[in-house]
Every structure is written in structure tokens, then in C-alpha cells.
């Protein structure tokens, strides 16, 4: 039992669950709970994105495009065409996954900056289409989204619900939903990393040619992880649209893509818990810096630069390294 807890999978997951369970009791108002939900949504997206960027070493500067597609398809299908939101969400995820599959083949042949360029282009094209086709998407003025519902049971952040005799606000139910999904997403990501796919991906990251030489079908695995991360983004796009009840093309924009990749790099590439920390910081930072007013932009840029210069591996890996250092010393001394 103790042994099991020490493995990153069970240990990390139970730590994460503990934090998620304790967290709502430390929050004093609905605004803080709302921010927590947004952190959760972003965290799930970047856990998916991290599989691509952190483990397979493939940069995507267009992931917000997938998130935007999911959000808008859900909003339009459930709103304009009256589909059930769950069906719309699944359909959107299949479409986005399909698109990622089709385009992943040629795009993922590209290396380094060309891959960044291509994914950036893909994201921008999606954003332009959403912004332009206003008869369908509402254009830059945005689109109102129906609340999430299942078999006629609607989950609106504004209603009251009763579960097992406890009265909960809609926001609290949303928190439970997103928190559970986060734990599930982390579990899924850790499983993928430990699977043959994950090992193949790490081989790709290390040296793609070496991986090919030993017989790994690198293209196959890269496309696979591209599709997985796109589906993560699409599903969270759909859920975030239903949660906020209103979306604008910003969700698919270039800036949002940059924000997502920054969460991954800042928190710690290839560290599933690290990128969650990245999401926490990047969602909270503007709220904390808001009091600085005109200095906000300056401070944000500076923090981003300084963190990346001094912790190029990202926050969590650097912090853990610091914590582990003394211990390593003792072990090496023992060995000596």
C-alpha cells in the first residue's frame, strides 16, 4: 500500500484529489469558485496538450483552434439545431479528432519552427472562419450557449440542486464535474505515458531518427497523440462554452493558443502535474496583477521572461529538483 502511494500515478492522483476536495472549503465566494473552475478547464486542456508538446516534443501554436471548434460546434448544434448537448459534444469531438487526423499526417512531418508555423496557421484559419461566418457563429459579438443538459436535466451555474440531501449551487455542481474530469484526465494521461504509445513518444522526442531505426512507426504515434490532444481541447471547449453560457471568437484566437502553450512550458514540460500548476498560475496571475493597473502588462511580461530564463525546465520540475537535491547528495555519499 505504502509502496503504491509512492508511485507518481497513485500518489500524485491521490494528492491531486485531496487538494481538489479541500479547495472548495477554503474559497470564500462564488467568484473564487468560478476561477477554480476555469483553472480546471484550462488544466485539462494543457494536460492533453502536454502529451503532444512535452512528451512527443511536437510544438502546437494552434490548439485554441481545436478548442474553439469544439465550443462553437457544441453551441451551434445544441442552440440553433436543438441537439442534445452531450450528443453535440461527442459529435464535435469526433469532427475535431477527424480533422486532426487528416491534417496531422502532413503537418507532423514538419520539424521545429515549421511545425509551429503550420499549427499557428491552422489555428488562425479556424479563428478567421469563426469570426467571419457571423450568420452561423454570431461573429465577434459572440454567441449565447444553452446550459449543459442530459435527458432534460439542465445544469446551469445559476440554479440550485439537491444531491443526496445536500443543497448545492449550480457553480458548485460544475466544480465537482470539472474536478472529477481533471482527475480522470490526469489518470488517462499517466496511463498513456506509461503505455507502449508513451514510450514510443518519448523515443520520438529523444531522437526521431533513432526511434525510426529501431522500428518505431513515428508518424503513426505522432498523429495518434495529436488527435488525442485535439480531442481533449475540443471536449473542454464544448464544456467551457456550456459553463460560461457565452462565447466569442477569442476562444479560438492566436492569443489563446499562446496562453495554452505558455501554461505547458511555464509549469514544466513533460510533467503532468507541472502543467496543471502552469494553468493555475496563468489563470490566476491576471487576477492578482489586476490591481497593478497600467503596470499589469509590464509585470506579466517580466514574470514570464524571468521564470523561463531561470527555470527553463518549468516551475514544478525545478522546484522538485531543489527539494530532491539534498537527498541525492546523501545517497551519493552513502554510495561512496
Amino acid at each position: 500500500m505504502m509502496q503504491a502511494l509512492k508511485s507518481p500515478r497513485l500518489g500524485g492522483l491521490s494528492a491531486l484529489s485531496c487538494v481538489l476536495i479541500i479547495l472548495p472549503f477554503t474559497l470564500s465566494n462564488s467568484f473564487q469558485l468560478d476561477v477554480a473552475i476555469q483553472v480546471g478547464i484550462a488544466a485539462i486542456v494543457v494536460v492533453g496538450l502536454n502529451l503532444l508538446v512535452g512528451f512527443a516534443g511536437q510544438i502546437s501554436l494552434g490548439h485554441a483552434g481545436f478548442m474553439g471548434m469544439g465550443a462553437y460546434m457544441s453551441a451551434i448544434l445544441s442552440g440553433t439545431y436543438g441537439w442534445s448537448p452531450l450528443l453535440a459534444l461527442i459529435f464535435a469531438a469526433i469532427c475535431v479528432g477527424g480533422l486532426a487526423f487528416l491534417i496531422g499526417g502532413p503537418i507532423l512531418r514538419l520539424k521545429g519552427h515549421y511545425l509551429s508555423m503550420a499549427t499557428l496557421g491552422l489555428g488562425i484559419i479556424i479563428a478567421i472562419v469563426i469570426n467571419t461566418e457571423s450568420w452561423l457563429t454570431g461573429g465577434p459579438d459572440g454567441l449565447v450557449v444553452e446550459p449543459l443538459s442530459l435527458f432534460g436535466w439542465a445544469l446551469s451555474p445559476f440554479d440550485e440542486y439537491h444531491l443526496l440531501g445536500i443543497s448545492l449551487s449550480g457553480t458548485q455542481v460544475w466544480y465537482i464535474l470539472i474536478a472529477s474530469l481533471l482527475v480522470f484526465a490526469v489518470w488517462l494521461a499517466l496511463n498513456i505515458i506509461d503505455s507502449p504509445t508513451g514510450r514510443a513518444l518519448r523515443a520520438v522526442h529523444g531522437s526521431e531518427i533513432a526511434a525510426q531505426v529501431v522500428g518505431v512507426n513515428t508518424a503513426h504515434y505522432k498523429v495518434k497523440v495529436f488527435v488525442i490532444s485535439a480531442v481533449f481541447a475540443s471536449v473542454m471547449g464544448s464544456l467551457s462554452a456550456h459553463y460560461t453560457g457565452f462565447i466569442t471568437p477569442n476562444i479560438a484566437g492566436f492569443h489563446h493558443s499562446i496562453e495554452l502553450i505558455t501554461m505547458v512550458v511555464l509549469g514544466g514540460m513533460a510533467s503532468t502535474y507541472g502543467v496543471i500548476l502552469g494553468a493555475v498560475i496563468l489563470v490566476l496571475l491576471p487576477q492578482v496583477l489586476a490591481d497593478l493597473q497600467e503596470f499589469e502588462m509590464l509585470a506579466f511580461g517580466l514574470i514570464l521572461m524571468v521564470t523561463m530564463i531561470f527555470m527553463p525546465k518549468g516551475l514544478l520540475p525545478t522546484l522538485l529538483n531543489l527539494l530532491n537535491k539534498p537527498k541525492q547528495k546523501t545517497t551519493s555519499e552513502e554510495a561512496a
Binding site: Q32, D34, T248, V280, L284, A290
Partner: protein, 384 residues
Amino acid sequence: MKTTKYTLALTLTLAATGVSLTPVQAAETLRIGAFVSATGPASFLGDPELKTLELYIKEINAQGGVLGQQVELVHYDDGGSAGKARTYVNRLIGADKVDMIIGGSTTGTTMAAVPLVEQAQVPFISMAGAIVITDPVKKWVFKTPQTDRMAATKVLQDMKARGMTKIGLISGTGGFGRSGHKHTLEVAKEMGIEIVADETYGPQDTDMTAQLTKIKSTPGVQAVFNFGFGQGPAIVTKNYAQLAIDLPLYQSHGVASDKYIELAGDAAEGVRLPASPLLVADTLPETDPQKPVVTAYKAKFEAAYNMPVSTFGAYAYDALMLAVDALERAGSTDKAKVRDALEQTQNYVGVTGVYNLSAQDHMGLDVSSFRLLEVSQGTWKLVE
């Protein structure tokens, strides 16, 4: 071991940020919340709005505040993003516990806030243009600017009066331009005006000669209407002059600021646009009821910031003054009473127009509040 380490790290971070997000409650002040797009693509709107709010809150406090209380302005910059706007409105309501909210420089940021203020039942005055904000009427939502539809109507009326029935339209692809584009098409249809050329440009575009060349070479165009804000319309105006297009050019209220003439220079000569009387404050007839209000606002703003006033700053002025007026008539900060008072505003003389609100109309202006201006010898001139 690892478990505790993770838990510790995460809890510490969360606790640290949680503390800093907890507001300090000041005693016995009236709190007005604001969220504007002070930076980002809509800073052309949000920047003068925020400056106006800060300026007048200071003045109100110097004069003893409202209802005997000092007024505190809690404001956030949403950068033009609806998602951020939504979070900040949540913060204003849930954490800052404001008595009233002014904000939403754009339609997108306003609409993101609507469900939240309706749910929390906080009076909310928007500074954005689209019709959807107050039509259908939402119980807690008000707005100060005329609608984009009214601007389009004012321009098309003038075109029709000058005998023009075939026009070219060029609009920005930002929220402002898109909304204007949509309503111009609708109003034109009703008035029997045909849009024979319909072009767009991006908010960051630096050259519109291609689009204007296309309009120029469209047969039968009698006038051109540009709906947009920021530097776009100024570039359109300069390109228009460069291409020597010999047709009347109309702009929207999106450029109603001396800044536009400064940027476009001589090319702006003869351009017509609908605007509040703010830009012609000095030449308004003495009998005009808005004259004192307009002149005072212009003088105060320009003295404080050393930059020209814009129509958008005036929306914030009107929003704040309507709010103060309603608070005083309600005699308390009780949100329902303030809302009722706001809805009953009659003959309130503002910078943008004279407001008459009702249960059916949460904006209270009509097309006549727009004046038609023309640029003549580097300054604004009333056309009517």
C-alpha cells in the same frame, strides 16, 4: 513522500493566491464596479471610458460623494476579451460586492456579463452599441450609447436626402464593424438603398487601397460608407484620397473624435458622420439644452488629460451620471430601488443625448440624438 510534497506545493500556491484574491472591505463607501477594454483591440473605446470614470469619481468625491458616502471605483481591464470580462464581472459581484456596475466597452464583453448581472440582480449600465443589449429588454441591463442601427439610419437618411440609392460599404471585421455592417444592410433594405459593393478589412490592417479600388471600379456607386473604429477608418480616408475617389465618404460614430482629423489630415475634408454634439460643443446654439453639459465635459476632460475628447468617453460620463442620478433619486443603495429609479429616468440631459428611459426602453435615446457632422477646414461642422 511524493504525495505530501505535491500536496504541500499545490496547497501553498493556492493558499497564497487565495489570500491575495480576497478583497478588503472598506466601510461605508459606495462601490461602483467597472470593467472596460483599456488595452487590446478595443482600447480606442475603453481608454477614454476609464479616464472619464476616474476623473468624475474624483470630482464627485470632492463634492461630498453620493448619498453622503464617498464613492469607490473598482475597475478592471478586460483587454477586449469576453472571457476575461465574464471573470471580472464575477469578481465585481462575488468578491468586491459592488452596488452597481458600469462597463462593457464592446458588445461581446457586455453580453458575457448580462447573464451574471441578471442572476445577481445588480444594476448594470453598458457602454456598447449593439441592439441585442437592450432589445429584448433585460431587467437589470441598461446602456448609454445609441445603437449601431441608429448610426446607420442617420447616415442612410442623409444619403437618401441627397438622392443616392446605390452605395459602397466598407467595414472592419472587429465587433463594432461587423455589427454596423449587419445593421447597415438591414436598414438599407428597408429604405430602398442598394449596397452594390461590400468590402471588409481587419482591425490591424495597414492598407485598404485594394478594397477601395474594388469599390471604385464597381459601376453605379454614388457614395461610400465606412463602419469601423480605431486607425482603420483613418487609413481608409487616406487611401480614399490617394485613389482620388470622387464620391462622398461617410464614416460611422466610431471615429467621432478630433483624433480622426489629426490622423487623416487633409484627406478627411468633406467626410460626414453621425455623432453626439460633443465635437461641435462651441458652435452649438445657446438654446441647445445639451450645450452646458457638453462644454463642461469637453473642457474638464481635455484639461485633465491633454488629449481630445471622444464620443466613447462621453458614454462613460453619461453612464456614471445616470447611475449617480438614480442613486440619489432612490435615496439608498438598495439595488432594486436603484434599478427602478434608473428605469424612471426622464429628460436627463447628458453629453450623448437627452435620456428618457422606460420599462420598454432601457437606452432612452432616439435617432435625433445623433447630429450629422462634416469635416470642414480641419474641424467639425454641423450639417443640419
